[in-house]
Each structure stands twice: as C-alpha cells, then as structure tokens.
Point group: C2
C-alpha cells in the first residue's frame, strides 16, 4: 500500500501559493485566528495553522477571548476584526461556547474573508459548484490529496462516511463537481461495510476512532482519512484502522501526517486568494 503523505501535498500547494503571492506585491496577507476559550482541539489546530502560515511566509495573529465572553461583546470584537482592512482572512474556531449565537456570527463574517466557508453565501456557492466561494478547508484538502497525487476522480465511485456540515456534505458537492459518483453514509446506514466496499475512493469523516477496518475496504481502493481521534492508549489516530487495511487498500493517508497538514495548506491558499479578491475589489 502506498502511503499518501500530507507533507508532500502541502509542499505542492506551497509552491502554488508562493507564485500567487508574487501578484500581491509587498504586502503579506494576514490571517486572523479567532478563538473563544482554551479547547485543546482548538489550541492544537491553532498551533498547526500558525506554524503553516509562518512556513508559507504569511502573517497570522491569534485573537483569543475568554470562554465566558458575552454574545454582545464577542460580536462587537468579531465585527472589528471582520472590518479591519489589514485582516485578509478569518478562521473562526468552532463550536463556540453556548452563550454565543454562532449562527449570527457566521452570518456577519464577510464572505470574502471567510476562509473556512462557514457563511451562508459560501455554503450556497459550494452547493452550486461556484468556485468563487470558499469551501471548508478540510473538505477541499481531500480533493487536493487526490489531485496532487494524480488520482483520477471523474467517473469513480466515491463513498463518504459522515454527513457533517463541515466535511461530509461539502465534500459530496466537491466530489460531484469532479464528476465522481458519490455516496454518503452515516450512523443510520444499513450494512456500512458493504456500502464502503463499493468505493474506489473511500473517505472517512465519521469522527470515530478506527471505525473503518479491512472489511470496509475494497481491494485496490484509495482511502482518505479525515478523522483525528485519540485511541485507547492516548495516541492520535484516524477513523481508519490503518494497520488492518495495508493488504487491501492501494493507497491511504495516515493520521497524523495525512489530511491535517493539507488542511492548513489549503487555509494558506484561501488566505492568498482572499487577499487577491480584496485587492481587486479595492481596485474598482
């Protein structure tokens, strides 16, 4: 089985980003990471994103707020970041604490700064296959892993395990746009191993440690693991039981070292695209 390494895909995206940066002139685009509270998952994603922006030669700043900030105060603070012309893109770490009306925040984020595609405008664009919008970075990372490894998608059977708003559903739209035949399964699917074995490209986005083992994988399938979980021994692992599929799958992404590294690279790419869009809009 070929191991599809995230670092290699990330390096290819970096080369693209570097080229695009040249069009922007001296001013390096800045990412604002907005975090409420100290959720370990958020902190871990934030560290990864900060490191990636640095290694891509981009600016990034964290805007942390206390977990108990009121909705009104947070909304006011968020609006300031949203309006700041020096901020080219925003990553809002979700879910937000309960007192904050997340939906309201998602509705005010400027669509052209909304790098992770959480605003209704970007969601509708992803749904419509309109590439001027931003898709959620993780969903797009899956497409990038396939494309940068020259794995053809058109006409292939793709099966996605998971129907979340951040991965499963937008990924279904992106794969349809690439002309895959797409199946989405989930906790209520009958005989999930059988459905998964129909996949030539199998994407695990269930959020359950080592859910997919050998019996889920057809011989020769490409397996992309979006999951980030902690196993019984406290070690990081994906939704796929990686060891068990070695003899069956043709290719697979590991966890860690797979899709995660590509997600932050896509975030960097979105940041530069956002800066370009804003530069064009200022030009008019």
């Amino acid at each position: 089985m070929v191991v599809l390494k995230g670092a290699e895909v990330s390096a290819k995206i970096k080369a693209q980003v570097q080229k695009e940066l040249m069009d922007l002139g001296d001013r390096l685009p800045k990412l604002a990471i907005v975090r409420v509270g100290e959720n370990p998952d958020d902190l871990s994603y934030e560290r990864g994103a900060m490191k990636k922006m640095e290694s891509f030669g981009l600016r990034a700043e964290t805007f942390p707020y206390p977990a108990d900030i009121s909705h009104e105060n947070f909304k006011q603070e968020f609006q300031k970041i949203n309006d700041d012309p020096d901020v080219a893109g925003i990553l809002l770490l979700c879910p937000l604490p309960k007192q904050i009306r997340e939906k309201e925040i998602k509705e005010i984020i400027a669509p052209d700064k909304d790098l992770d595609g959480i605003s209704p405008v970007n969601i509708a664009k992803v749904f419509a296959g309109d590439e001027t919008g931003f898709a959620p970075c993780t969903a797009e990372a899956v497409i990038q892993v396939l494309k940068k490894n020259k794995i053809s998608i058109s006409g292939k059977r793709a099966v996605i395990v998971g129907r979340s708003l951040l991965v499963g559903k937008p990924l279904a739209m992106l794969l349809l746009k690439e002309n895959a035949t797409v199946t989405v399964c989930h906790t209520r699917t009958t005989d999930m191993p059988k459905v998964c074995r129909e996949a030539e490209i199998l994407i695990a986005a269930a959020g359950k440690a080592k859910l997919l083992s050998r019996e889920y994988v057809a011989s020769g399938a490409v397996v992309i693991d979006v999951g980030i979980n902690v196993d019984d021994e406290g070690k990081l692992c994906g939704d796929v039981d990686f060891e068990s599929i070695q003899e069956t799958a043709a290719m697979a992404t590991p966890v860690p070292g797979g899709v995660g590294a590509v997600t932050t690279a896509v975030l960097a790419d979105h940041l530069v695209r956002a800066a370009k869009i804003q530069k064009q809009n200022r030009g008019h």
Copy 2:
C-alpha cells in the same frame, strides 16, 4: 406494481394546508408568479400552479414581463413585488433570459417569500438541514410522495439520477436528513444501471426521456420519476420507461399524474408557511 398517484398525495397536503390556513384568519395568502417571456414550460407550470392555488383556496397572481425586458427594469419590477406586503410568496420562473443577471435576482428575493428555495439563505439552510428554510418544491415533493405513502426512508439506500441545483442536490440533502444512505449519479457515472440497481428508492431527475428502463431497477424498488419530457410521439413522459419496469418495481410514480401534482401542492404549503412566518414577524 403499485402506481403512486400524485393526486392522492396532493389531497393529503391540501388537508394539512387547510388546517394551517385557519391560523391565519380571514386574509388569504397570495402567491406572485413572476414570468419573463412565454416559454411553454413556464406557461405550463404557471397554469398548474394557478389551478392548484385556486383549488386549495389560495390567491395567486401572474406578473408577466416581455422576454426582452432589461436587467435594470426587471430588477426594479421584481423589487416592487418583493416589497409588496400583500404578496406572501414568490415563484420566479427560471431560467431567465440571458440579459437578466439571474444570480442578482436570486440574491434579492426575501428569504421568507422565497417559496422555491432559490436564495443563498434558503440553499444554505437546506444544506444544513435547517427546516426553517424553504427547499425547492420539486425536491420536497419527492419526500412528500414517500412520506404520504408511508414508505420508510431511514436506513434505506436511495439513488438519485441527476445532480441539478433544483432537484438532485437539494434532494440528496433532504434524503440524508431522513437518514437514507444517498448516492448521486449523473452523466459521468460508470455503469449507471448497476448503481441504480443498488437503490431501494430510485429517483429519476435526469431530464432525459425514458432513460431508466428495467435494467436500472432492482426487484422491489420504489421508483420516483421527477422528469417531465416529451417522447418521440409528442407525448408527455418521464425519465423512466414506465411500461418496462412494471414487473420489477414495487411502486412507481407515473408521468403525468405523479410528482408534478405534488410539486404545486408543496408550493401551496410553502405559501401558507410563508404567510405564517410573516404574520409572526409583524407581531414582534
């Protein structure tokens, strides 16, 4: 094979709508049908919708414009209808002529009058599974045909042929919300008959006359035909070769007399829901 008649589903929706109407008091909600030009498909849908509103005891008015109306003039006219408090819901017949920037019109339609779910706000809500939005009537009609005939959806394998923004994609979202395992196929699908035979519920929304024949249908499947086409003899027909599946399918909708009648019933239901939402909003 049991023939699933649209009229029976429509009658059940009518009973619901009548109940909901009682909450609204004397004022009957009014539908505005906005049409540019004289496209025969538009005229046919308009006639069907007008008749249905009348039979449901609802008001409807057509707003026809010449095919060569300019974008600016049409936008102005549309805005007037959109702002009219006497108009509870709008059906915009699409596609619009090329000189009109359809996307711009879809962005200005008030989400709470957007009965066919064409605004980004409603698209994003359907994507998110948020039932406060309006799904496209045809997509929801398919769900209604299943539910009103007490055909269980949860855990079933549903295959949709067609990936349009108006039917295939939103229907995939609605079926996922009902816990079906959903596959979307299309012109680029490899071995479509085989994929379709995996379906316990098969939905034809390809827009191609009699595309799906017996070899596409598993024994015992439920077949829902969204297509409205004209065959070689000039007769109305669906995407399914209805005669050929009689021995194979357990149940199927005919064309005409199937989903079409349910689509306008759903439109009526949306109109009353829209009027209720607007009444509540005025109350605040």
